[in-house]
């Protein structure tokens, strides 16, 4: 029942917000729903809820991603309050659809995490696209419109492929005889060993490419920098911090089935290929990137690549991938929120036109430095640890060269990011640019995220590592 609530409350909240015209009340609703959602999501760790029919159930991987989504959403909701009320740097904004769409977005993402039926999950993921498209077009600008259009078209087409993959899986299963099982995860897992291989393969490939499009794996990532750079800060944060994970979960579900089928070697290979392709391409585009929001977007591509590589390597790396998913969500959300602060004051996303953030926005500047170091994989922050786990399990396994390639690409990405961000942070702003007072919430929220990332860097609480561990086991990995 709780599962249904998790989905319905945001959805209905969205309708409510749509009905109410006052922005303030809307935001109240948003906050209330976010808090409620997080409370439920966390509560479910302690009192697990029974699966709802064969469609909805909460396994550990789904629950992990649900919790991440919920946390990021709450933070974003808090940040959104000052952002919507008085901080939008652009007069021609469209707040009236903002809150409802956010809530529907949340509902859709929740549904992704709790659905066990692949078709339902597909529908949910498609729904996330539709719910978030209007959010990207928050600022009524041609560029935003273009970004929205690309996002819609590319993701819809990609997702369509994923649906095809889903059906293929069904066909493969129906090949398994004894009345094909429905597209429910465990049923598929049971039938997997008997599936007709070619269909299974094609199914996974389609799903990987389809959901990979949404997840931002190269070379299907093309929509991502546009959408992330044009969307308002809170939305970018959600897209990067929550949505990409959900798409990743889509891939993982198929991966589970392939694992159950016994020969997952090809899937691992594919994950590695796409993972490295993404990291490499992202690194290339991060070097000398002109637009700092695009920079963060490409860094998301890179990190999605890292996740794929982690799962593809298997063993301890899968654990690392899970941990990295958490770290990345927190870091990237923080980065985009901070980018919002910078954008509000400087009014441009062109890195070259921004200088002396540390002087003009001291808090934002410091936090941006911290978040940058964190996402760049510098100790003592979370991503350092997760990347180290992935790297070392690569070196320890037979894939020494993969490990070396991995860390080399990460280094390039880090330096590329440094080359763009540090000149923005440092330096003298123009003489007239005095330090600016920043709304408390828009600084506190990223601060919390940064603190969390720092804590994860020096200390991973036992319960969390157990959860990650069991999630990794679910995905055929675990401590090497």
């Amino acid at each position: 029942m709780a599962l249904l609530l998790l989905v319905l409350v945001p959805a209905l909240g969205g309708l409510l917000a749509l009905a109410i015209k006052s922005v303030r009340i809307d935001l109240g609703v948003l906050l209330a729903v976010a808090v409620l959602h997080l409370a439920t999501a966390v509560g479910l760790w302690f009192v697990p809820s029974p699966p709802l029919g064969s469609l909805l159930a909460l396994d550990v991987a789904g629950h992990l991603f649900l919790t991440i989504t919920s946390i990021v959403f709450l933070v974003v909701a808090l940040y959104a309050i000052p952002y919507v009320l008085h901080a939008t740097h652009d007069p021609q904004a469209a707040p009236h659809l903002f809150v409802p769409c956010l809530l529907w977005f949340l509902a859709a993402m929740t549904l992704v995490t709790v659905s066990q039926h692949l078709a339902v999950m597909w529908a949910a993921i498609e729904a996330t696209t539709l719910a978030s498209a209007p959010l990207i077009y928050f600022y009524r600008k041609k560029s935003a419109l273009e970004a929205t259009w690309k996002y819609l078209l590319i993701c819809s087409v990609g997702i369509a492929l994923a649906l095809l993959g889903t059906f293929f899986l069904g066909i493969a299963a129906s090949g398994a005889g004894d009345g094909a099982p429905p597209l429910v995860l465990d049923a598929l897992a049971n039938a997997a060993p008997h599936m007709t291989r070619p269909w299974l393969k094609v199914a996974f490939i389609m799903a990987l490419i389809g959901y990979g499009t949404k997840m931002g794996l190269a070379p299907m990532h093309t929509w991502l920098p546009d959408a992330h750079s044009q969307a308002p800060a809170p939305v970018s944060a959600l897209l990067s911090g929550a949505l990409l994970n959900c798409a990743f979960l889509g891939v993982l579900r198929f991966y589970q089935v392939v694992l159950a089928s016994g020969d997952a070697a090809f899937a691992r290979t594919l994950l590695l290929v796409f993972g490295f392709l993404s990291i490499g391409l992202a690194a290339v585009f991060m070097v000398r990137q002109r637009d700092y929001k695009r920079l963060f977007a490409y860094s998301s591509v890179e990190n999605m690549g890292i996740l794929a590589v982690g799962v593809g390597l298997g063993g301890a790396a899968t654990f690392g991938a899970m941990l990295h998913a958490v770290n990345h969500s927190l870091c990237k959300a923080a980065l985009f929120l901070l980018a919002g602060n910078v954008l509000r004051v400087y009014g441009t996303t062109t890195a070259g036109d921004v200088q002396g953030v540390l002087r003009r926005l001291p808090l934002t500047g410091v936090l941006l430095t911290v978040a940058f170091l964190a996402i760049g994989g510098a100790p003592p922050f979370g991503p350092f640890m997760s990347e180290l786990v992935i790297f070392q399990s690569a070196i320890r396994g037979s894939e020494v060269w993969l490990g070396i390639l991995f860390i080399a690409l990460l280094a390039i990405a880090f330096l590329g990011m440094a080359g763009v961000l540090l000149p923005m942070l440092q330096g003298e702003g123009a003489a007239d640019q005095l330090p600016v007072r920043e709304p408390r919430l828009s600084v506190v929220t990223p601060l919390c995220l940064c603190v969390a990332v720092f804590v994860l860097g020096v200390f991973v609480p036992a319960p969390l590592s157990e959860v990650l561990q069991s999630a990794a086991v679910l995905l055929g990995g675990g401590h090497g």
């Binding site: 419109l145 929205t148 129906s174």
Partner: protein, 218 residues
């Protein structure tokens, strides 16, 4: 009806595909997609023919849904959007229509070859189902990438959806109706959102061919 009827329907689908590729009028393309939706609605019966009564009932439900959405609502939405934006009604392809026709034929060939590579889904599925589904899919994709105007790309997307839906048909009986409905609703909402965005585009750029939509780049 039997699986052979199904094959007839499938052939109709392919012909509609070719028509959409060949036509120079957007409205015509949209109407064709409506017709395709209608013939899709027939498919469930054809496939459920050998099934039990509740299979038939299930099929009826699905058919009804398809008919309502793909044959009526969505085309109506698109035509409305087309009417809203006063534009020239030609499709304006990147490649000339003759060439695209040939390419369409080629794609159909590819589809048949590819489906020959894959083992047959299962006993009782019509022989044409997989190739036609693939063909529709590919042609839809082809239309998306070969047309300038946003709305034509939506039509292409619609065709892709239909192609995938044909696959879905072969699994109809495993699929709970709720799920089918969810998928259909998604498509509907999708087209709806597409329509809105197209409207905005036409307002912002006072035309809707998408190659001006390429300002965001590195």
């Amino acid at each position: 009806m039997t699986a052979d009827h199904a094959d007839v329907v499938l052939l109709v689908l392919v012909m509609i595909d070719l028509f959409v590729v060949a036509t120079s009028r957007i409205a015509a393309a949209i109407r064709a997609s409506a017709l395709q939706g209608f013939s899709l609605a027939l498919l469930p019966f054809a496939l459920a023919s050998d099934g039990t009564p509740e299979h038939l009932a299930h099929a009826a439900l699905i058919a009804a849904g398809v008919l309502l959405l793909k044959a009526v609502l969505i085309p109506w939405l698109l035509l409305r959007a087309l009417r809203k934006v006063q534009i020239r009604r030609e499709v304006e392809p990147f490649v000339s229509l003759h060439v695209s026709l040939l390419l369409g034929a080629l794609l159909i060939g590819v589809a048949f070859w590819a489906s020959a590579q894959l083992p047959a889904p299962r006993a009782g599925t019509p022989a044409l189902l997989v190739p036609v589904a693939l063909a529709t899919l590919l042609i839809g994709f082809f239309i998306i990438v070969s047309r300038k105007k946003a709305i034509t790309q939506v039509v292409g997307y619609l065709l892709m959806e239909n192609g995938i839906f044909v696959f879905g048909m072969s699994l109809a009986r495993e699929m709970p109706f709720v799920v089918e409905l969810g998928i259909l609703l998604d498509v509907l909402v999708g087209i709806f959102v597409f329509g809105i965005v197209i409207h905005h585009i036409s307002e912002a750029f006072d035309h809707m061919d998408t190659h001006t939509l390429s300002e965001l780049r590195d």
